[in-house]
Amino acid sequence: MYRYDEFDHAFVAERVEQFRGQVARRIAGELTEDAFKPLRLMNGLYLQLHAYMLRVAIPYGTLSARQMRKLAYIARTHDRGYGHFTTRQNIQFNWPKLDDVPTILDELADVEMHAIQTSGNCIRNTTADPLAGVAADEIDDPRVYAEIIRQWSTLHPEFSFLPRKFKIAVTGSPNDRAVTRGHDIGLRMHRDLQGRPGFEVMVGGGQGRTPIMAKTIRNFLPVDHLLSYLEAVLRVYNQLGRRDNIYKARIKILVQSEGAEKFAELVEAEWLQIRDNAVDLPMEERDRIAAYFAPPRYDDLPDVCPALDLAIAADRRFAAWVESNVVAHKQPGYAIATISLKPHGGIPGDASADQMDAVATLSEKFGFGELRVSYKQNLILPDVAKADLLALWRALDGLDLGTANAGRISDIIACPGLDYCNLANARSIPIAQRISERFTDLQRERDIGDISLNISGCINACAHHHVANIGILGVNKNGTEFYQVTLGGVATEDAAVGAIIGPAFDEWQIADAVEDIVDVYLHQRQTDETFIETYQRIGPQPFKETLYGTDQARQAG
């Protein structure tokens, strides 16, 4: 893992002191709310429906046991005993008091964490493949580049007041586990003919009101030019992005209005002017950062683990957990285990302080003290010896963290929605709870197989409903919540935006509608087809007919 040196420590400490001064000036009445708001947002502090909310960055989703314990401590001491992990690999605390926040930030700085740029119209926390460093299909570790981007983008003097927020995601694999096309800039690693690593640069993706998948503006960017190229993209956007309409201010609208080709020309012209100056990190600095991400000291283990095979044969529930929550590791004898934060009927992404502490301890016992946070709002232990999986699962099961549903229908992504969020139009969490309670039968979930179901409480689409196989968007009609369903979204390397299936459902109909959709799939699927494969083959019509009846479906269709 990356570790702060004296410069990182000093910088974060200075930032905390700066914010302490800003809070003091706000409380003393020297700063108006209008002037304070952008300052607190750039330190991750929102004012929500019931209280402040502090969003803490978990850079590229990597956490140490020590950091996880600190999050637990903050949840227990300065909040109400829990935290919410988000799709952007952040954690949110829902009840901090304003004058407590500088102290919380001090505590975070102790463990090399911060809340810088987790909000505001600036470059946000850069996200990455949660399986970075351990995935078998990886070309190079994306965390190295995400950390380089984190440092470069932190309090950038030119790009801190952009037309709108700006999100960058990096993946080091051809298989996209970071929804890179859904970001303002997506970086996907490839090798050139000489075998050198570089990035495909995709620009102008985003969800929200106008979901658009990012366009590739450069097929291959050598890694050593990463920062100058990013700077060129940002400079073009900062000057030309729209500032007259908040809904048209994201870079996706600029790329769309200029056309991807023209936009690429503008970027290339800017890049030509700056590509050989000091912004690009020298290779020795890249290597210095890369050294922090060296793999842990793995034991030399055989890949086949008879004890694991026996345990799988002996315990149906454990077998199901291994099937859904454990994936292959590049190191023989090791596995990657997902800790589900989606117990049936629970709040997606929430973890109690006790759970956080327990997971930290488990990570030390079974996983070199390292944890990951995935955009699917789950935790991951990236380095578990196969022989330890049973003991790990038993411990997790006792903590209500052993649900065997990663990638299943109850692995629902949900934003906080109207239960917490000031922007929301409808609640998300109770809908997620009701739907997941319909799918408590292990065998049924296995039978349904790989599927994604995401619920956003407003058009900002924090839960990525547009790219879910089944997307649910909460809307408000005269003070009453309704839920609009989209089908066919895909979040991986073949990213696609789902289409609205028909009129919205009310909060009591929506779980039935999801069951109906699943039933159509189960009746129509051919051997081994996943939900999305069946949908892509048969199209929306059979789903419409089941949901709305034949006549209405024809009208809606």
Binding site: Q151, L162, R243
Partner: protein, 187 residues
């Protein structure tokens, strides 16, 4: 209004005009700031007037006017003023970077409009060296903000060494001096 220049309160000697007629009445000309329209329409007359009777001219660019439009004329201006209509409109940061770094503008680069204390360091790092703010009190308050950070991660137009450069110095690799960093950034 109060002016901060090179880190101190200073008198504002510059006069604004939107009228070319008013400009012509000045003898010698200026110090006066004109907008891009006046400059484009009357460039030759203004230069002739300065040649004849002397004078000093400054230019005001709005956030949407790229510095490329006046790249060839920069030697004529003793001041360029960039505007922050709202503090959330960050276009002038890029304008400043381009004027200083790419086009080599060396004279006074002034920020005006909605300037907040907590943005001053960003402005300084983008090459601004004077700031026109609402009151003396505000000017004093924003001067305090300058010392809040010792070092920054990314190269910009200020003179301090960046954190990556300092690391290289400490870790013994080919160390880059402060001057190297500043020079390398001039593009």
């Amino acid at each position: 209004m109060a002016l901060i220049k090179h880190g101190k309160l200073a008198d504002n000697i510059w006069h604004d005009t939107d009228e070319f007629a008013e400009l012509q009445a000045l003898a010698p000309l200026g110090p006066v700031i004109v907008d891009l329209d006046i400059w484009r329409q009357h460039r030759d007359e203004i230069l002739a007037q300065i040649a004849r009777i002397g004078g000093r001219i400054g230019l005001r660019l709005t956030p949407g006017q790229t510095p490329d439009l006046v790249a060839a004329d920069l030697d004529h201006f003793e001041l360029i003023e960039l505007q922050f209509a709202k503090f959330t409109d960050g276009r002038a940061y890029s304008q400043a970077r381009l004027l200083r770094g790419r086009h080599g503008f060396k004279s006074e680069l002034r920020a005006s409009g909605d300037i907040l204390r907590d943005q001053l360091t960003f402005m300084l790092r983008c090459g601004f060296d004077s700031f026109l703010v609402a009151t003396d009190h505000q000017a004093e308050a924003i001067l305090e903000a300058v010392e809040e950070f010792a070092h920054w991660y990314q190269p910009a137009l200020d003179q301090g060494a960046t954190i990556p450069a300092l690391r290289r110095r400490i870790h013994g690799a080919a160390g880059a001096s402060t001057a190297d960093c500043a020079a390398a950034w001039a593009y």
